[in-house]
């Protein structure tokens, strides 16, 4: 089977998630972590998934990987089509053949996701031997090539070292080497640079961009940073309280945001290139509880546009244009300017 960068079915999406619903059954009640989430990723495309802690962005990634801890978590509905094949219907053994080979994940903290007692070479070689049937010697040689590819100096020597001998940035490079070892069709990166310093973050993002261009794989970039998304993603979806609240191309969502939460996120962060020290516009209040949420817009209690209709039913994603959708009943009123006016009115 060919594992080269060229893909036979280049026309279709590499990942097609439909109606994904993941719940956690806890003593306090059912936590609705991911609620009816649908999206696609094309080959060579980067989808940015943005949101704050608890919005469901990481659980969405884990659900696609089928790595949600069960119990207490369970994927209760939906389909996850990877190149047309529904992963939710696969057995655990079949899933093990998919993970690492067709689909892989890069986690935030490279220290806890690497095994401290195995050499780097063993850990990269594991998937090469399992999925591609390489011998020990072949796997070692390929591991060295992969380490060189992700920019680790003295790869021939470092392949025999242990994770603690690597710095944070170097460990994240190792994680990327492991994720890309079998040339997967889709990589899910969950806050891959959040634990790193900004100069190291720039190195890692640069590396991920160039490797993705080379391999033409799909990339799902989960992050809380609008800045990272602006530089990396082709399309962006913003999540809040388990749902997608807005999705559009990156250029469109930054130029013409149509959900009050998206606007709020953008206005609450100071910009590096801002000379004037205009007051920040925080989003008031706190994110909602995810246990037994009411059938209402989850953002309504924090929203300056909110009115009675928002509390009567949860707005579905509505088309703004063919490539832009917002889950706000009043999306046509939403703009950064209007948000500022409403904030000024509210504080008076």
């Amino acid at each position: 089977m060919a594992t080269g960068p060229q893909s036979a079915e280049a026309a279709g999406p590499v990942l097609d998630v439909r109606g994904l619903t993941t719940n956690f059954y806890t003593e306090d009640g059912v936590v609705r972590a991911v609620r009816d989430v649908s999206f696609t990723v094309m080959p060579g495309e980067t989808l940015g998934v943005v949101g704050e802690s608890g919005c469901g962005k990481s659980i969405t990634g884990l659900s696609v990987m089928r790595l949600v801890p069960d119990p207490p978590g369970r994927i209760d509905a939906g389909a996850v089509l990877l190149e047309g094949r529904d992963l939710l219907g696969l057995s655990e053994a079949e899933m093990r053949d998919v993970r690492g080979r067709k689909l892989s994940m890069i986690f935030q903290d490279p220290m806890t996701s690497l095994n401290p007692v195995l050499t780097i070479g063993r850990q990269i070689g594991e998937s090469l031997r399992r999925h591609l049937g390489l011998t020990r010697a072949q796997a070692r040689a390929r591991s060295i090539e992969l380490l060189k590819m992700v920019g680790i100096p003295h790869a021939g020597q470092r392949v025999d070292e242990f994770p603690h001998q690597f710095s944070g940035g170097m460990r994240q490079r190792v994680m990327i080497a492991i994720a890309l070892a079998c040339n997967p069709r889709l990589v899910i990166a969950d806050e891959p640079t959040t634990a790193l310093d900004v100069t190291i973050q720039a190195q890692i993002l640069e590396l991920m961009k160039s490797l993705q261009a080379e391999h033409d794989s799909g990339l799902v970039m989960i992050t809380h940073s609008m800045g990272v998304v602006a530089g990396m993603a082709d399309r962006v979806q913003v999540m809040y309280a388990g749902s997608i609240v807005e999705t559009a191309t990156t250029a469109e969502i930054f130029a013409n945001p149509r959900h009050p939460y998206t606007v709020g996120l953008m206005q609450s962060i100071p910009r590096l290139d801002a000379r004037d020290k205009a007051r920040l516009q925080p989003i008031g209040g706190l994110p909602p509880e995810l246990i037994d949420p009411p059938d209402a817009c989850p953002f309504a209690p924090r929203c300056t546009y909110a009115r009675p209709a928002c509390l009567e039913a949860r707005p579905p994603l509505q088309a703004v244009t063919a490539e832009h959708a917002s889950a706000c009943w009043f999306w046509d009123e939403v703009s950064p300017r209007r948000s500022l006016q409403l904030a000024a009115g509210a504080s008076r």
């Binding site: 900004v198 100069t199 973050q201 720039a202 609450s268 962060i269 590096l272 994110p287």
Partner: protein
């Protein structure tokens, strides 16, 4: 800024001994802070930025004498804190407080909010017992919490609310100087703005002076009047914040700023990044001469021999051989 600064730090050094073996022979020293000088005027905010391990947090703690400095002077309102005996230093502490990064770890889980906020008043004997309740309520209101939360415990709150409790505690002793050590980096972005605005409001109302330590360069620009950049225990550049961000002189500052993503795809598309190679060297054995030379794209022969001093270019100070002191 006129008159004497509230805080003046001169050649501050803090080394931590590295011991070897069971009986702890001194094997070397982590030169966490290696000779920094900086002053902060009353009511001013100075930002201190740098990457992990650059010594910025240690600098903050050494200034407050939480780590006694190895050498150097810390003049607070003209008095050298490094010369004060512990007993006198304890008395001085009410004038300088700290806000910590992790609002989960810095609040005692066994104390109620009222006890946490009242503790500095008890320790420094500031408010008679009968009036403490009213003062706690006043402080909670000042930081945007309802007085009703006083009887609750820290674990009942979200990160942003805990940080407000931490700020109320810092204010309880009516300090002049607050060292904020990464006060918003553990918080979600929508909550960060609430806390940044609160710190700005409090400064205006109470005339506070801040040393704002953070790795988030955008937040630091927003809140600071002047900004100092640290690398491996040294300040490599210090200037008014707009001057520093618009015209960075030190190659490290340039790289640091170019690495920060800007939430604007039109700008990101055309941005030229200075991507630094390699990692930060160990502070146990920093490079000779300029400490940044091993990663500097402009390193010259002189850089390995001579440690560049901080040269003053009409208020914009930089330690780099590319920018020697004018006329020097």
């Amino acid at each position: 800024m006129t008159g004497t600064p509230l805080l003046e730090v001169r050649n501050l050094v803090k080394h931590f001994g590295v011991t070897r073996g069971l009986f702890g022979g001194q094997a070397g020293a982590v030169r966490a802070v290696d000779g920094i000088s900086l002053s902060i005027g009353r009511g001013e905010t100075v930002g201190l930025v740098g990457e992990s391990g650059c010594g910025k947090s240690t600098a903050g703690r050494a200034i407050l004498q939480l780590h006694r400095p190895t050498s150097g002077e810390v003049l607070f309102d003209g008095k050298d804190l490094t010369k004060l005996p512990d007993r006198d230093m304890r008395r001085m502490r009410r004038h300088m407080q700290m806000i910590f990064q992790d609002p989960y770890a810095s609040l005692n889980p066994k104390m109620t909010v009222a006890e946490i906020v009242a503790e500095p008043m008890v320790i420094h004997k500031l408010v008679p017992r009968a009036e403490r309740g009213a003062r706690v309520a006043e402080l909670l209101e000042l930081v945007g919490l309802k007085p009703g939360v006083a009887s609750r415990y820290a674990h009942e709150f979200s990160g942003g609310q805990r940080q407000r409790v931490g700020i109320a505690r810092a204010l309880a002793a009516s300090p002049d100087l607050i060292v904020c050590d990464e006060p918003v980096s553990a918080l979600d972005v929508s909550i960060q703005a609430q806390i940044v605005n609160l710190l700005e409001d409090l400064q205006e109302r109470l005339g506070l002076t801040y040393l704002f330590i953070a790795h988030d360069l955008s937040v630091v620009r927003h809140i600071s009047r002047r900004v100092a950049v640290m690398y491996l225990g040294r300040i490599v550049e210090i200037a008014e914040s707009n001057a520093l961000y618009d015209h960075p002189l030190h190659p490290y500052t340039q790289a640091l700023l170019s690495a920060v993503p800007i939430p604007d795809p039109a700008i990101e598309q055309h941005r030229q990044r200075v991507i630094l190679t390699g990692d930060v060297p160990s502070p146990v054995d920093p490079p000779s001469g300029c400490r940044f030379r091993t990663r500097c794209p402009f390193a010259m022969e002189i850089c390995s021999r001579v440690d560049p001093p901080l040269a003053d270019h009409s208020g914009h100070k930089v330690a780099c051989h590319l920018h020697p002191a004018p006329g020097g």
